[in-house]
Amino acid sequence: MKKLATTTVSVTARRDLRNDYYSLTFGPYPRVTKCRPGQFVHIRLPETDILFRRAMSIASVDTDRREIEIIFKVVGRGTTVLSRYRKGDQVDLLGPLGNTFSLPKKSERALLLGGGVGYPPLLYMATHMVRSGFDPKSIEFFYGGRSDRDILDRTRIKKLGVNFHPVTEDGSFGQKGLITHAVESFIQGQKKDRMRIFACGPEPMLKAVDDLGLREGINGELSLEAPMPCGIGVCLGCVVPLKQGGHARVCADGPVFAIGEVIL
Protein backbone atom coordinates (compact mmCIF):
# COMPACT_ATOMS: atom_id res chain seq x y z
CA MET A 1 0.00 0.00 0.00
CA LYS A 2 1.30 3.45 -0.93
CA LYS A 3 2.19 5.64 2.03
CA LEU A 4 -0.25 8.33 0.95
CA ALA A 5 -3.32 7.91 -1.20
CA THR A 6 -6.74 9.25 -1.95
CA THR A 7 -9.64 6.84 -1.53
CA THR A 8 -13.26 7.17 -2.61
CA VAL A 9 -15.59 6.07 0.17
CA SER A 10 -19.33 6.17 0.80
CA VAL A 11 -21.21 7.56 3.74
CA THR A 12 -22.36 4.45 5.62
CA ALA A 13 -24.00 6.20 8.56
CA ARG A 14 -24.91 9.69 9.57
CA ARG A 15 -25.97 11.05 12.93
CA ASP A 16 -27.40 14.49 13.53
CA LEU A 17 -26.04 15.47 16.90
CA ARG A 18 -27.09 18.45 18.91
CA ASN A 19 -26.17 22.06 18.27
CA ASP A 20 -25.05 21.83 14.61
CA TYR A 21 -22.74 18.89 15.24
CA TYR A 22 -22.84 15.89 12.91
CA SER A 23 -21.23 12.49 12.74
CA LEU A 24 -20.45 10.81 9.44
CA THR A 25 -19.13 7.28 9.04
CA PHE A 26 -17.31 6.37 5.84
CA GLY A 27 -16.46 3.02 4.30
CA PRO A 28 -15.22 0.76 3.02
CA TYR A 29 -11.88 2.34 3.88
CA PRO A 30 -9.00 -0.07 3.29
CA ARG A 31 -6.57 2.25 5.09
CA VAL A 32 -8.50 1.95 8.35
CA THR A 33 -5.78 -0.29 9.81
CA LYS A 34 -3.24 2.53 9.37
CA CYS A 35 -5.27 5.04 11.40
CA ARG A 36 -4.09 6.09 14.87
CA PRO A 37 -5.46 8.57 17.45
CA GLY A 38 -4.50 12.15 16.63
CA GLN A 39 -4.46 11.60 12.89
CA PHE A 40 -6.85 13.22 10.48
CA VAL A 41 -8.28 12.77 7.02
CA HIS A 42 -8.42 15.47 4.37
CA ILE A 43 -11.82 15.41 2.73
CA ARG A 44 -12.53 16.51 -0.84
CA LEU A 45 -16.02 17.83 -1.41
CA PRO A 46 -16.87 16.73 -4.95
CA GLU A 47 -19.48 18.47 -7.09
CA THR A 48 -18.91 21.80 -5.34
CA ASP A 49 -16.84 24.83 -6.21
CA ILE A 50 -14.92 24.47 -2.96
CA LEU A 51 -11.27 24.09 -3.88
CA PHE A 52 -9.52 22.83 -0.79
CA ARG A 53 -10.08 19.68 1.16
CA ARG A 54 -11.29 20.03 4.75
CA ALA A 55 -9.32 18.45 7.60
CA MET A 56 -11.24 16.30 10.10
CA SER A 57 -9.84 14.31 12.98
CA ILE A 58 -10.60 10.63 13.07
CA ALA A 59 -13.16 10.13 15.87
CA SER A 60 -13.41 6.36 15.73
CA VAL A 61 -12.45 3.39 13.59
CA ASP A 62 -14.08 0.03 13.06
CA THR A 63 -11.47 -2.27 11.57
CA ASP A 64 -13.92 -5.17 11.10
CA ARG A 65 -16.32 -3.10 9.04
CA ARG A 66 -13.46 -1.03 7.58
CA GLU A 67 -15.11 2.24 8.58
CA ILE A 68 -13.98 5.52 10.08
CA GLU A 69 -16.04 8.20 11.74
CA ILE A 70 -15.69 11.96 11.86
CA ILE A 71 -17.57 14.35 14.13
CA PHE A 72 -17.77 17.98 13.15
CA LYS A 73 -19.52 21.27 13.73
CA VAL A 74 -20.93 23.40 10.94
CA VAL A 75 -18.89 26.61 10.88
CA GLY A 76 -18.71 27.58 7.21
CA ARG A 77 -19.21 26.54 3.62
CA GLY A 78 -17.31 23.28 3.64
CA THR A 79 -18.82 21.93 6.82
CA THR A 80 -22.29 22.94 5.56
CA VAL A 81 -21.75 20.79 2.47
CA LEU A 82 -20.49 17.93 4.64
CA SER A 83 -23.54 18.19 6.88
CA ARG A 84 -25.82 17.56 3.89
CA TYR A 85 -24.29 14.22 2.96
CA ARG A 86 -26.58 11.23 3.25
CA LYS A 87 -25.98 7.52 3.39
CA GLY A 88 -24.58 6.33 0.06
CA ASP A 89 -23.07 9.69 -0.97
CA GLN A 90 -19.43 9.50 -2.00
CA VAL A 91 -16.52 11.55 -0.78
CA ASP A 92 -12.80 11.35 -1.35
CA LEU A 93 -10.43 10.95 1.59
CA LEU A 94 -6.71 11.70 1.66
CA GLY A 95 -5.11 10.07 4.65
CA PRO A 96 -4.64 9.11 7.32
CA LEU A 97 -2.43 12.17 7.73
CA GLY A 98 -0.25 13.62 10.46
CA ASN A 99 1.45 12.18 13.50
CA THR A 100 -0.30 10.57 16.45
CA PHE A 101 -0.78 10.93 20.18
CA SER A 102 1.76 8.69 21.92
CA LEU A 103 0.40 6.10 24.32
CA PRO A 104 1.21 6.81 27.98
CA LYS A 105 2.81 4.24 30.25
CA LYS A 106 0.32 1.88 31.85
CA SER A 107 1.37 3.24 35.25
CA GLU A 108 0.47 6.77 34.25
CA ARG A 109 -2.81 8.59 34.70
CA ALA A 110 -4.02 9.94 31.33
CA LEU A 111 -5.76 13.31 31.36
CA LEU A 112 -7.71 13.60 28.12
CA LEU A 113 -8.91 17.15 27.48
CA GLY A 114 -11.36 17.79 24.66
CA GLY A 115 -12.72 21.28 24.16
CA GLY A 116 -15.66 21.77 21.77
CA VAL A 117 -14.74 20.68 18.23
CA GLY A 118 -11.50 19.30 19.70
CA TYR A 119 -13.39 16.42 21.25
CA PRO A 120 -13.29 13.83 18.38
CA PRO A 121 -9.58 12.88 18.49
CA LEU A 122 -9.83 12.36 22.25
CA LEU A 123 -12.79 10.03 21.85
CA TYR A 124 -10.59 7.98 19.52
CA MET A 125 -7.67 8.16 21.98
CA ALA A 126 -9.81 6.98 24.88
CA THR A 127 -11.33 4.14 22.85
CA HIS A 128 -7.92 3.11 21.54
CA MET A 129 -6.42 3.07 25.04
CA VAL A 130 -9.24 0.96 26.45
CA ARG A 131 -8.98 -1.46 23.52
CA SER A 132 -5.22 -1.63 24.04
CA GLY A 133 -5.70 -2.85 27.60
CA PHE A 134 -5.41 0.35 29.61
CA ASP A 135 -7.49 0.39 32.77
CA PRO A 136 -10.42 2.74 31.94
CA LYS A 137 -10.20 4.05 35.48
CA SER A 138 -6.70 5.36 34.73
CA ILE A 139 -8.25 7.67 32.10
CA GLU A 140 -9.68 11.02 33.17
CA PHE A 141 -11.85 12.30 30.31
CA PHE A 142 -12.41 16.07 30.55
CA TYR A 143 -14.86 17.41 28.02
CA GLY A 144 -15.47 21.14 27.91
CA GLY A 145 -18.08 23.18 26.11
CA ARG A 146 -19.97 26.41 26.37
CA SER A 147 -23.17 24.79 27.63
CA ASP A 148 -25.09 21.54 27.96
CA ARG A 149 -25.77 21.45 24.21
CA ASP A 150 -22.08 21.25 23.36
CA ILE A 151 -21.33 18.02 25.20
CA LEU A 152 -21.90 15.17 22.74
CA ASP A 153 -21.90 11.38 22.99
CA ARG A 154 -22.30 11.17 26.80
CA THR A 155 -23.48 7.56 26.97
CA ARG A 156 -20.77 6.54 24.57
CA ILE A 157 -18.07 8.07 26.75
CA LYS A 158 -19.53 6.58 29.92
CA LYS A 159 -19.71 3.15 28.27
CA LEU A 160 -15.94 3.23 27.84
CA GLY A 161 -15.75 3.12 31.63
CA VAL A 162 -13.44 6.12 31.84
CA ASN A 163 -13.78 8.76 34.55
CA PHE A 164 -15.93 11.34 32.79
CA HIS A 165 -15.61 15.02 33.73
CA PRO A 166 -17.97 17.21 31.71
CA VAL A 167 -17.37 20.94 32.15
CA THR A 168 -19.53 23.79 30.83
CA GLU A 169 -18.88 27.50 30.97
CA ASP A 170 -22.45 28.25 32.06
CA GLY A 171 -22.70 25.29 34.41
CA SER A 172 -25.72 23.82 32.59
CA PHE A 173 -24.07 20.40 32.57
CA GLY A 174 -21.25 19.03 34.71
CA GLN A 175 -18.85 21.34 36.47
CA LYS A 176 -19.15 25.06 35.87
CA GLY A 177 -16.19 26.92 34.42
CA LEU A 178 -13.38 26.41 31.98
CA ILE A 179 -11.94 22.99 31.27
CA THR A 180 -8.48 24.08 32.41
CA HIS A 181 -9.87 25.21 35.77
CA ALA A 182 -11.53 21.82 36.23
CA VAL A 183 -8.23 20.10 35.44
CA GLU A 184 -6.39 22.40 37.81
CA SER A 185 -8.60 21.52 40.76
CA PHE A 186 -8.44 17.82 39.83
CA ILE A 187 -4.66 17.65 39.98
CA GLN A 188 -4.37 19.35 43.37
CA GLY A 189 -2.43 17.08 45.70
CA GLN A 190 -1.85 14.38 43.06
CA LYS A 191 1.48 12.97 41.86
CA LYS A 192 2.11 15.06 38.75
CA ASP A 193 5.03 13.05 37.43
CA ARG A 194 2.63 10.14 36.96
CA MET A 195 0.25 12.12 34.75
CA ARG A 196 0.15 12.81 31.06
CA ILE A 197 -2.05 15.32 29.30
CA PHE A 198 -3.57 14.88 25.84
CA ALA A 199 -5.50 17.91 24.62
CA CYS A 200 -7.31 19.23 21.60
CA GLY A 201 -9.51 22.28 21.39
CA PRO A 202 -9.61 25.97 20.54
CA GLU A 203 -6.34 27.85 20.65
CA PRO A 204 -6.99 29.79 23.90
CA MET A 205 -7.70 26.47 25.62
CA LEU A 206 -4.52 24.88 24.23
CA LYS A 207 -2.52 27.87 25.38
CA ALA A 208 -3.94 27.54 28.88
CA VAL A 209 -3.20 23.80 28.87
CA ASP A 210 0.34 24.44 27.67
CA ASP A 211 0.86 26.96 30.49
CA LEU A 212 -0.65 24.56 33.02
CA GLY A 213 1.55 21.67 31.91
CA LEU A 214 4.70 23.77 32.09
CA ARG A 215 3.77 25.36 35.42
CA GLU A 216 2.79 22.09 37.10
CA GLY A 217 5.47 19.98 35.45
CA ILE A 218 3.02 17.65 33.69
CA ASN A 219 4.14 16.26 30.36
CA GLY A 220 1.78 15.83 27.53
CA GLU A 221 0.69 16.56 24.03
CA LEU A 222 -1.47 19.11 22.25
CA SER A 223 -3.22 18.61 18.93
CA LEU A 224 -3.31 21.82 16.89
CA GLU A 225 -5.43 23.13 14.06
CA ALA A 226 -4.48 25.40 11.19
CA PRO A 227 -5.90 26.14 7.76
CA MET A 228 -4.46 23.39 5.60
CA PRO A 229 -4.30 23.79 1.84
CA CYS A 230 -2.46 20.52 1.17
CA GLY A 231 -2.36 18.49 4.39
CA ILE A 232 0.75 16.59 3.24
CA GLY A 233 3.55 19.04 3.95
CA VAL A 234 4.24 20.55 0.54
CA CYS A 235 2.69 24.04 0.63
CA LEU A 236 4.14 25.34 3.93
CA GLY A 237 0.86 27.14 4.57
CA CYS A 238 -0.01 25.60 7.94
CA VAL A 239 3.09 26.42 9.94
CA VAL A 240 3.31 27.19 13.66
CA PRO A 241 6.32 28.85 15.31
CA LEU A 242 8.48 26.66 17.55
CA LYS A 243 10.00 27.80 20.86
CA GLN A 244 13.43 26.58 19.76
CA GLY A 245 13.09 28.78 16.65
CA GLY A 246 11.84 27.97 13.20
CA HIS A 247 8.48 26.72 12.04
CA ALA A 248 6.80 23.33 12.06
CA ARG A 249 4.14 22.22 9.61
CA VAL A 250 0.99 21.40 11.59
CA CYS A 251 -0.13 18.87 8.94
CA ALA A 252 3.05 16.86 8.53
CA ASP A 253 5.19 17.55 11.64
CA GLY A 254 2.01 17.61 13.77
CA PRO A 255 -0.87 18.03 14.40
CA VAL A 256 0.33 16.65 17.75
CA PHE A 257 3.08 18.61 19.52
CA ALA A 258 4.60 18.22 22.96
CA ILE A 259 3.63 20.65 25.70
CA GLY A 260 6.21 23.44 25.62
CA GLU A 261 7.17 22.85 22.01
CA VAL A 262 5.21 25.47 20.08
CA ILE A 263 4.47 29.17 20.54
CA LEU A 264 0.72 29.51 20.89
Binding site: K2, L51, P227, P229, G237, H247, A252
Partner: protein
Protein backbone atom coordinates in the same frame (compact mmCIF):
# COMPACT_ATOMS: atom_id res chain seq x y z
CA UNK B 1 0.23 2.51 -30.61
CA UNK B 2 1.18 4.47 -27.51
CA UNK B 3 1.66 8.14 -28.29
CA UNK B 4 5.09 9.62 -27.69
CA UNK B 5 4.98 11.99 -24.71
CA UNK B 6 8.64 13.04 -24.82
CA UNK B 7 9.46 16.71 -25.11
CA UNK B 8 12.82 18.39 -25.56
CA UNK B 9 13.51 21.83 -24.16
CA UNK B 10 16.84 23.52 -24.81
CA UNK B 11 18.41 20.15 -25.63
CA UNK B 12 17.20 18.46 -22.45
CA UNK B 13 14.85 15.54 -23.00
CA UNK B 14 11.90 15.10 -20.63
CA UNK B 15 9.90 11.86 -20.52
CA UNK B 16 6.70 13.89 -20.69
CA UNK B 17 5.59 17.54 -20.51
CA UNK B 18 4.18 17.38 -16.96
CA UNK B 19 6.23 19.09 -14.23
CA UNK B 20 5.33 20.07 -10.68
CA UNK B 21 5.53 23.82 -9.96
CA UNK B 22 7.91 25.48 -7.53
CA UNK B 23 6.56 25.84 -4.00
CA UNK B 24 3.88 23.24 -4.57
CA UNK B 25 5.94 20.05 -4.21
CA UNK B 26 8.56 20.95 -1.59
CA UNK B 27 11.77 19.14 -2.48
CA UNK B 28 9.88 16.07 -3.65
CA UNK B 29 9.98 13.80 -0.59
CA UNK B 30 6.29 14.03 0.29
CA UNK B 31 5.03 13.55 -3.27
CA UNK B 32 7.22 10.47 -3.61
CA UNK B 33 4.95 8.86 -1.00
CA UNK B 34 2.02 9.43 -3.36
CA UNK B 35 3.46 8.33 -6.72
CA UNK B 36 6.88 7.44 -8.14
CA UNK B 37 8.47 10.71 -9.19
CA UNK B 38 9.77 9.10 -12.37
CA UNK B 39 6.25 9.61 -13.70
CA UNK B 40 7.01 13.33 -13.89
CA UNK B 41 8.74 15.07 -16.74
CA UNK B 42 10.46 17.14 -14.07
CA UNK B 43 10.19 18.30 -10.51
CA UNK B 44 10.76 21.99 -9.84
CA UNK B 45 12.00 22.63 -6.31
CA UNK B 46 10.81 25.29 -3.90
CA UNK B 47 12.71 28.54 -4.50
CA UNK B 48 16.19 28.36 -3.01
CA UNK B 49 17.80 31.48 -1.54
CA UNK B 50 21.34 32.04 -0.25
CA UNK B 51 20.35 31.96 3.42
CA UNK B 52 17.61 29.79 4.93
CA UNK B 53 14.33 31.69 5.19
CA UNK B 54 11.47 31.17 7.61
CA UNK B 55 9.01 33.07 5.47
CA UNK B 56 6.15 35.18 6.77
CA UNK B 57 4.34 34.39 10.02
CA UNK B 58 1.02 32.55 9.69
CA UNK B 59 -1.63 32.96 8.42
CA UNK B 60 -0.01 32.86 5.04
CA UNK B 61 -2.61 31.20 2.85
CA UNK B 62 -6.28 31.92 2.22
CA UNK B 63 -8.85 30.17 0.08
CA UNK B 64 -10.60 32.29 -2.59
CA UNK B 65 -13.26 31.52 -5.18
CA UNK B 66 -11.61 28.99 -7.53
CA UNK B 67 -8.19 29.69 -6.15
CA UNK B 68 -6.00 30.59 -3.24
CA UNK B 69 -3.77 33.38 -2.01
CA UNK B 70 -0.38 32.62 -0.58
CA UNK B 71 2.26 34.74 1.03
CA UNK B 72 4.63 32.03 2.17
CA UNK B 73 7.54 34.42 1.76
CA UNK B 74 10.04 32.05 0.15
CA UNK B 75 10.45 29.81 3.19
CA UNK B 76 13.29 27.44 2.26
CA UNK B 77 16.33 25.66 3.68
CA UNK B 78 18.90 27.84 1.90
CA UNK B 79 21.32 26.70 -0.79
CA UNK B 80 23.88 25.06 1.54
CA UNK B 81 21.39 22.78 3.24
CA UNK B 82 19.68 22.19 -0.09
CA UNK B 83 22.92 20.83 -1.52
CA UNK B 84 23.81 18.88 1.62
CA UNK B 85 20.40 17.47 2.60
CA UNK B 86 17.99 17.61 -0.33
CA UNK B 87 20.15 16.88 -3.36
CA UNK B 88 21.42 13.46 -2.13
CA UNK B 89 17.82 12.24 -1.94
CA UNK B 90 16.83 13.91 -5.21
CA UNK B 91 19.77 12.15 -6.85
CA UNK B 92 18.05 8.81 -6.24
CA UNK B 93 14.93 9.93 -8.10
CA UNK B 94 14.54 9.10 -11.77
CA UNK B 95 13.15 12.41 -12.93
CA UNK B 96 14.65 15.63 -14.19
CA UNK B 97 15.29 18.21 -11.49
CA UNK B 98 14.81 21.91 -12.11
CA UNK B 99 16.14 23.97 -9.22
CA UNK B 100 14.22 27.20 -8.70
CA UNK B 101 16.41 30.06 -7.47
CA UNK B 102 15.33 33.35 -5.91
CA UNK B 103 17.44 36.25 -4.74
CA UNK B 104 17.21 39.75 -3.41
CA UNK B 105 20.27 41.02 -5.25
CA UNK B 106 22.18 40.29 -8.43
CA UNK B 107 25.03 38.89 -6.34
CA UNK B 108 22.73 36.49 -4.56
CA UNK B 109 21.34 35.05 -7.80
CA UNK B 110 24.84 34.64 -9.23
CA UNK B 111 26.29 33.11 -6.07
CA UNK B 112 23.55 30.50 -5.74
CA UNK B 113 23.67 29.57 -9.41
CA UNK B 114 27.45 29.24 -9.25
CA UNK B 115 27.06 26.80 -6.35
CA UNK B 116 24.50 24.82 -8.34
CA UNK B 117 26.76 24.73 -11.39
CA UNK B 118 28.82 21.95 -9.79
CA UNK B 119 25.73 20.00 -8.91
CA UNK B 120 25.16 17.68 -11.87
CA UNK B 121 21.69 16.77 -10.67
CA UNK B 122 20.42 20.29 -11.22
CA UNK B 123 19.40 19.63 -14.82
CA UNK B 124 18.18 23.19 -15.23
CA UNK B 125 17.78 26.29 -13.12
CA UNK B 126 14.52 28.20 -13.09
CA UNK B 127 15.13 31.81 -12.06
CA UNK B 128 12.29 33.14 -9.95
CA UNK B 129 12.37 36.80 -10.88
CA UNK B 130 8.70 37.05 -10.16
CA UNK B 131 7.88 36.31 -6.53
CA UNK B 132 5.29 38.84 -5.34
CA UNK B 133 5.73 37.91 -1.69
CA UNK B 134 9.02 39.43 -0.62
CA UNK B 135 9.59 43.13 -0.31
CA UNK B 136 13.17 43.10 -1.52
CA UNK B 137 14.35 41.63 -4.84
CA UNK B 138 12.56 38.92 -6.74
CA UNK B 139 9.85 40.72 -8.59
CA UNK B 140 11.96 43.89 -8.95
CA UNK B 141 14.03 41.91 -11.41
CA UNK B 142 11.00 40.57 -13.24
CA UNK B 143 9.17 43.87 -13.70
CA UNK B 144 12.09 45.77 -15.19
CA UNK B 145 13.34 44.62 -18.61
CA UNK B 146 16.88 45.92 -18.13
CA UNK B 147 17.23 44.10 -14.81
CA UNK B 148 15.67 40.95 -16.23
CA UNK B 149 18.22 40.90 -19.02
CA UNK B 150 21.07 41.68 -16.66
CA UNK B 151 20.37 39.03 -14.05
CA UNK B 152 19.95 36.36 -16.71
CA UNK B 153 23.13 37.37 -18.52
CA UNK B 154 25.12 37.29 -15.26
CA UNK B 155 23.75 33.90 -14.24
CA UNK B 156 24.50 32.48 -17.69
CA UNK B 157 28.17 33.27 -17.09
CA UNK B 158 28.34 30.94 -14.10
CA UNK B 159 25.79 28.24 -15.00
CA UNK B 160 26.28 26.53 -18.33
CA UNK B 161 23.26 24.25 -18.38
CA UNK B 162 19.89 25.57 -19.61
CA UNK B 163 18.28 28.43 -17.76
CA UNK B 164 14.54 28.98 -17.42
CA UNK B 165 13.30 32.51 -16.69
CA UNK B 166 10.06 32.47 -14.71
CA UNK B 167 7.95 35.48 -15.61
CA UNK B 168 5.44 37.42 -13.57
CA UNK B 169 2.01 38.39 -14.86
CA UNK B 170 2.13 41.52 -12.69
CA UNK B 171 3.41 43.72 -15.52
CA UNK B 172 1.81 45.82 -18.23
CA UNK B 173 3.54 43.99 -21.07
CA UNK B 174 4.81 40.49 -20.45
CA UNK B 175 6.13 40.23 -24.01
CA UNK B 176 8.63 42.97 -23.24
CA UNK B 177 9.90 40.94 -20.27
CA UNK B 178 10.02 37.78 -22.36
CA UNK B 179 12.12 39.54 -24.97
CA UNK B 180 14.42 40.93 -22.30
CA UNK B 181 14.89 37.42 -20.92
CA UNK B 182 15.66 36.12 -24.40
CA UNK B 183 18.11 38.96 -24.92
CA UNK B 184 19.82 38.09 -21.66
CA UNK B 185 20.32 34.52 -22.85
CA UNK B 186 17.47 32.59 -21.24
CA UNK B 187 16.95 29.19 -22.86
CA UNK B 188 13.36 28.62 -21.78
CA UNK B 189 10.56 30.80 -20.40
CA UNK B 190 8.10 29.68 -17.76
CA UNK B 191 4.90 31.58 -17.06
CA UNK B 192 3.02 32.57 -15.05
CA UNK B 193 3.93 33.07 -11.43
CA UNK B 194 1.10 34.11 -9.09
CA UNK B 195 -0.91 37.33 -9.47
CA UNK B 196 -0.98 39.88 -6.67
CA UNK B 197 -4.21 39.85 -4.71
CA UNK B 198 -5.68 40.10 -1.25
CA UNK B 199 -8.71 39.15 0.85
CA UNK B 200 -10.28 40.75 3.92
CA UNK B 201 -12.36 39.35 6.78
CA UNK B 202 -15.38 41.67 7.02
CA UNK B 203 -16.09 40.79 10.65
CA UNK B 204 -12.67 41.78 11.95
CA UNK B 205 -11.71 44.13 9.06
CA UNK B 206 -8.38 42.33 9.05
CA UNK B 207 -6.54 41.14 5.96
CA UNK B 208 -6.35 37.35 5.79
CA UNK B 209 -2.58 37.24 5.34
CA UNK B 210 0.05 38.66 7.68
CA UNK B 211 1.78 39.98 4.56
CA UNK B 212 -1.50 41.83 3.78
CA UNK B 213 -1.33 40.67 0.18
CA UNK B 214 -0.31 37.51 -1.57
CA UNK B 215 -0.20 35.64 -4.83
CA UNK B 216 -3.38 34.33 -6.43
CA UNK B 217 -3.08 30.87 -7.98
CA UNK B 218 -5.28 27.97 -9.00
CA UNK B 219 -8.13 27.64 -11.54
CA UNK B 220 -8.98 31.35 -11.16
CA UNK B 221 -5.83 32.40 -13.05
CA UNK B 222 -5.91 29.85 -15.87
CA UNK B 223 -7.58 32.03 -18.52
CA UNK B 224 -5.09 34.81 -17.80
CA UNK B 225 -2.14 32.45 -17.97
CA UNK B 226 -3.38 31.02 -21.28
CA UNK B 227 -3.68 34.47 -22.84
CA UNK B 228 -0.19 35.41 -21.64
CA UNK B 229 1.37 32.18 -22.93
CA UNK B 230 -0.34 32.86 -26.25
CA UNK B 231 1.04 36.40 -26.36
CA UNK B 232 4.57 35.33 -25.54
CA UNK B 233 4.47 32.40 -27.95
CA UNK B 234 3.33 34.70 -30.75
CA UNK B 235 6.16 37.15 -30.15
CA UNK B 236 9.11 35.20 -28.91
CA UNK B 237 10.97 32.12 -30.16
CA UNK B 238 11.97 30.54 -26.85
CA UNK B 239 10.24 27.35 -25.71
CA UNK B 240 7.60 27.95 -23.04
CA UNK B 241 6.58 26.09 -19.91
CA UNK B 242 2.95 27.02 -19.23
CA UNK B 243 1.82 27.47 -15.61
CA UNK B 244 -1.41 28.59 -13.99
CA UNK B 245 -4.45 26.73 -12.75
CA UNK B 246 -3.64 23.44 -14.43
CA UNK B 247 -5.53 20.56 -12.82
CA UNK B 248 -6.57 18.25 -15.66
CA UNK B 249 -5.35 16.92 -19.02
CA UNK B 250 -7.82 19.29 -20.69
CA UNK B 251 -6.05 22.22 -19.05
CA UNK B 252 -2.69 20.89 -20.24
CA UNK B 253 -3.96 20.53 -23.80
CA UNK B 254 -5.15 24.14 -23.83
CA UNK B 255 -1.71 25.33 -22.76
CA UNK B 256 0.02 23.19 -25.39
CA UNK B 257 -2.32 24.48 -28.09
CA UNK B 258 -1.46 28.11 -27.32
CA UNK B 259 2.21 27.31 -27.55
CA UNK B 260 3.54 25.83 -24.33
CA UNK B 261 5.95 22.93 -24.87
CA UNK B 262 5.55 21.71 -21.29
CA UNK B 263 3.52 22.65 -18.23
CA UNK B 264 3.76 22.85 -14.47
CA UNK B 265 1.05 21.80 -12.03
CA UNK B 266 0.94 23.84 -8.82
CA UNK B 267 -2.08 24.47 -6.61
CA UNK B 268 -3.90 21.41 -8.01
CA UNK B 269 -1.36 19.22 -6.16
CA UNK B 270 -2.82 20.47 -2.87
CA UNK B 271 -6.22 19.14 -3.84
CA UNK B 272 -5.16 16.00 -5.71
CA UNK B 273 -1.54 15.13 -4.94
CA UNK B 274 -1.61 12.46 -7.65
CA UNK B 275 -2.99 14.88 -10.27
CA UNK B 276 0.10 14.45 -12.54
CA UNK B 277 -0.53 10.71 -12.84
CA UNK B 278 -4.17 11.22 -13.75
CA UNK B 279 -3.24 13.97 -16.19
CA UNK B 280 -0.73 11.70 -17.96
CA UNK B 281 -3.27 8.90 -18.34
CA UNK B 282 -5.93 11.24 -19.68
CA UNK B 283 -3.46 12.99 -21.96
CA UNK B 284 -2.45 9.65 -23.47
CA UNK B 285 -6.10 8.73 -24.04
CA UNK B 286 -6.72 12.07 -25.70
CA UNK B 287 -3.78 11.70 -28.07
CA UNK B 288 -5.00 8.22 -29.02
CA UNK B 289 -8.51 9.47 -29.60
CA UNK B 290 -7.20 12.28 -31.77
CA UNK B 291 -4.85 9.81 -33.49
CA UNK B 292 -1.83 11.92 -32.73
CA UNK B 293 1.54 10.17 -32.56
CA UNK B 294 3.32 12.78 -30.47
CA UNK B 295 2.30 15.20 -27.76
CA UNK B 296 4.42 17.82 -29.53
CA UNK B 297 1.90 17.70 -32.41
CA UNK B 298 -0.34 19.87 -30.24
CA UNK B 299 2.11 22.67 -29.52
CA UNK B 300 0.98 26.00 -30.92
CA UNK B 301 -1.82 24.48 -32.99
CA UNK B 302 -4.59 26.69 -31.61
CA UNK B 303 -7.11 27.74 -34.26
CA UNK B 304 -8.01 31.38 -33.98
CA UNK B 305 -10.80 33.43 -35.47
Amino acid sequence: MTPDLKVTLAGVEFSNPIMTASGCCGYGEELADVFPLEKLGALVTKSITREPRLGHPPPRTAETPAGMLNAIGLANVGVKRFLAEKIPWLETQKTKIIVNVAGSSLDEYVEICAMLADCERADMIELNISCPNVSEGGIQFGTNPAMTEKVIAEVKKVFSRPLVAKLTPNVTDIVEMAKAAEQGGADVLSLINSMVGTSIDIETWQTRLTNNKGGLTGPAIKPIALALVDAVHSNCRLPIIGIGGIATAADVIEFLLVGASAVQVGTALFVEPDAPVKILNDLTSYLKRKQLARVTDLVGQVRKY
